[in-house]
Symmetry: C2
């Protein structure tokens, strides 16, 4: 099997080189073919997905995991739309930056080029298969996909469809490959092939990511927890605060950019906390507060651990803080640098919060759920990185490129 | 000692936050103060350096290492000039990119911010102390410097001078710190502090870098070998080819962007190889060629190992190849993705070479020695990265920043 993985990676390397040399028009056309294939084969995909779901339920997979595995009509539709959206993005390759003529006459510039081969290791959600294929093909990278064994039929079919559709537009067939064996040793073999694979992106729980980062000889772009905050400033509009906090927490509780801790300014607590608590409880959210929050609205007591817990569940930690500096200090101490927001009408407070919070995304008067590829205009992403190096925040086509220096001289020498 | 290193890193984290909040004007002024301090304390620096040199020679350090340790008048002068050049660069912080208003009205943008704290672990050359301090202060990052024990007096004095000069301009004194103990365990302790330090940049031999990359919990920007090539196309101008190849190989043999393998097109071999060989031998360069090169000019035979050896010495491997595709294949097979060049008058050949060679720097009609911070206009760099992720090629102030997403809404929700 190691030989099989080696061969797959070598073919991906060669396919990546050919893919990176194709024009942006061809790569965009391939994405439109991929979208059309998704639409044309809906029934077939749903049959494969139903078979995976039946096995998962028979095998006793938990409710949320089954939920993630399911490809509803709506999910398929948005997968299709993201392929089209990525196709329509500007070409991330061949972008010239830092171009200038040196005093010596040497013409120097940086040109964006593909990274080469991307390995994506993910759990459950089969939409990652098409999103990752879209982002990789758009950016001229070959991709090796390794989904969870519970979604094997769905992922394999999706990857085959994407590869065939891309090939119809002129993309090498090996540009989109999938590891078909559920054997875990395949991942171990993959992580050693730094000769062929340029970056590994794991999508899944903390333990999966930590294990892969520890084991990999290949650089890893990591997607760790989102301990996301909203800070309600003293002047915050009540209606906006309630709407944004409820959306941040409840729109989808199990995702990394869902709200986990609410910071309410002491100057706003009595005015906004009762309405906020009522609205959140109406959505089934359990509140855990510090003493000052509980003095305004009765709720369970938060412990020190609550401030650094990513619940991914209908639970929200609530703390009353004194001013924007205290909010920044709390976020700096307990946050994970993923997504943090402020609700205020004050430009000075917004500016201070944006400057003071060191996170991949800082939002002003907006739901934390908006920090992501779609809402930032990236079409689709392969995840939201919590690394600072290379890719910070949503990982779209631009993040899968690097910049090569090119210099043109006329016999220029080092003096 | 672990406690001491921990405290140093924690203070660096705090200093970095304060430094990152200073205006570009203050950071530039700090760099000019640092340059002035270097000039004002020349005699003192030279005394410290002389003491290090005396110990090194007494201790039997080899000639090239002593050479690297020596701070000549000329070296000090160029260290000073690089501080001034970095001061004059545009501010790398607060640069807004990807700014746009989404259809929903959400205003989205990316803003460049410092990484935080940079750890630099280096051998011999004391100029790294001032170059790294310059690049880090310019980009709003605190730096922890750990030089070689043989340069301890020189590096400690330089770092103290830089810290004091920066502090005089308003930069926190802990923004530039140096590990004073020669104890190797200090490095081990440093590499565990991912809580405070954001990136580690090792400068030195392959084994130092590999050891640090293996041991570090902190992301590492790596500077591996430069197996650099020049390809002499069939149409190459003889005079230019000789001048560029001699400069690429001989201007400084022990550095990563020095030429290691010369590829001569079969259509140019008889015309250019004799003159090239004569010019190189006049500079004391030993040639090792394949059979076809030796058929034109007698020289030692190259073995398979020669193609993947970074000599860092007056030795050059020579191979005759059939056309630009063969040159690209050779470079892809044996190169290290550092710096590769072509000598040609043909735009088609230059374009094909630039597109086909996957390296941090690709040069046309220019010496490989020009791939670097100074000649690319970066003022100073902390090294030349061979990584593809984050920083590829010279690591200047821009490479020590990351981009934070900031979004401004008016109560925007995820639909």
């Amino acid at each position: 099997m190691t030989a099989e993985i080696y061969d797959m990676a070598r073919r991906a390397r060669d396919a990546g080189r050919a893919l990176g040399a194709l024009s942006g028009a061809v790569r965009a056309a391939a994405l439109r073919e991929m979208a059309a294939a998704l639409r044309a084969h809906t029934a077939e995909i749903q049959r494969a997905n139903a078979a995976d779901l039946a096995d998962a339920e028979a095998g006793g997979l938990s409710g949320p995991l089954v939920q993630r595995l399911r490809l509803s009509e709506r999910t398929l539709c948005s997968m299709h739309d993201r392929l089209i959206a990525v196709a329509a993005l500007p070409d991330p390759l061949g972008v010239i930056s830092n171009g200038h003529v040196r005093p010596s006459g040497l013409r120097v510039m940086r040109v964006s080029v593909p990274l080469g081969v991307i390995g994506i290791i993910y759990e459950s959600r089969p939409n990652v298969t098409t999103d990752a294929a879209a982002v990789c093909v758009k950016s001229g990278n070959a991709v090796i996909l390794r989904g969870g064994s519970e979604a094997l039929r769905t992922n394999t079919l999706l990857a085959e469809l994407m590869a065939a559709a891309a090939a119809a537009a002129g993309v090498p067939a090996d540009a989109v490959q999938t590891v078909r064996t559920p054997d875990r040793a395949a991942v171990g073999a993959l992580l050693q092939l730094d000769r062929f694979i340029d970056v590994i992106i794991p999508r899944g729980g903390q333990s999966l990511i930590a294990r892969i980062a520890a084991e990999s000889r290949i650089p890893v772009i990591k997607h760790y927890d989102g301990i996301c905050h909203q800070y309600i400033a003293a002047d915050a509009d009540l209606e906006m605060a309630v709407a944004v906090v409820v959306n941040s927490k409840c729109e989808k509780v199990e995702v990394c950019n869902a709200l986990e801790t609410l910071l309410v300014d002491a100057g706003a607590a009595e005015r906004v906390l009762p309405a906020l608590a009522a609205a959140l409880r109406a959505q089934g959210v359990e509140l855990r507060g510090d003493a000052r929050a509980r003095a305004v609205v009765p709720m369970d007591a938060a412990t020190e651990d609550d401030w650094s817990t990513e619940y991914l569940a209908p639970i929200l930690a609530v703390r009353v803080v004194d001013g924007v500096e205290a909010a920044i200090t709390h976020i700096t101490t307990y946050g994970s640098g993923h997504t943090d927001g402020i609700i205020t009408g004050s430009m000075a407070l917004a500016d201070r919060f944006v400057a003071g919070v060191d996170a991949a995304s800082v939002l002003v008067n907006a739901s934390t759920r908006l920090s992501g590829g779609g809402d930032y205009g990236l079409g689709a992403v392969v995840g939201i990185s919590t690394d600072k190096l290379h890719a910070r925040g949503p990982v779209g086509p631009d993040e899968l490129t690097c910049r090569k220096w090119v210099a043109y001289g006329a016999g220029h020498l080092r003096k």
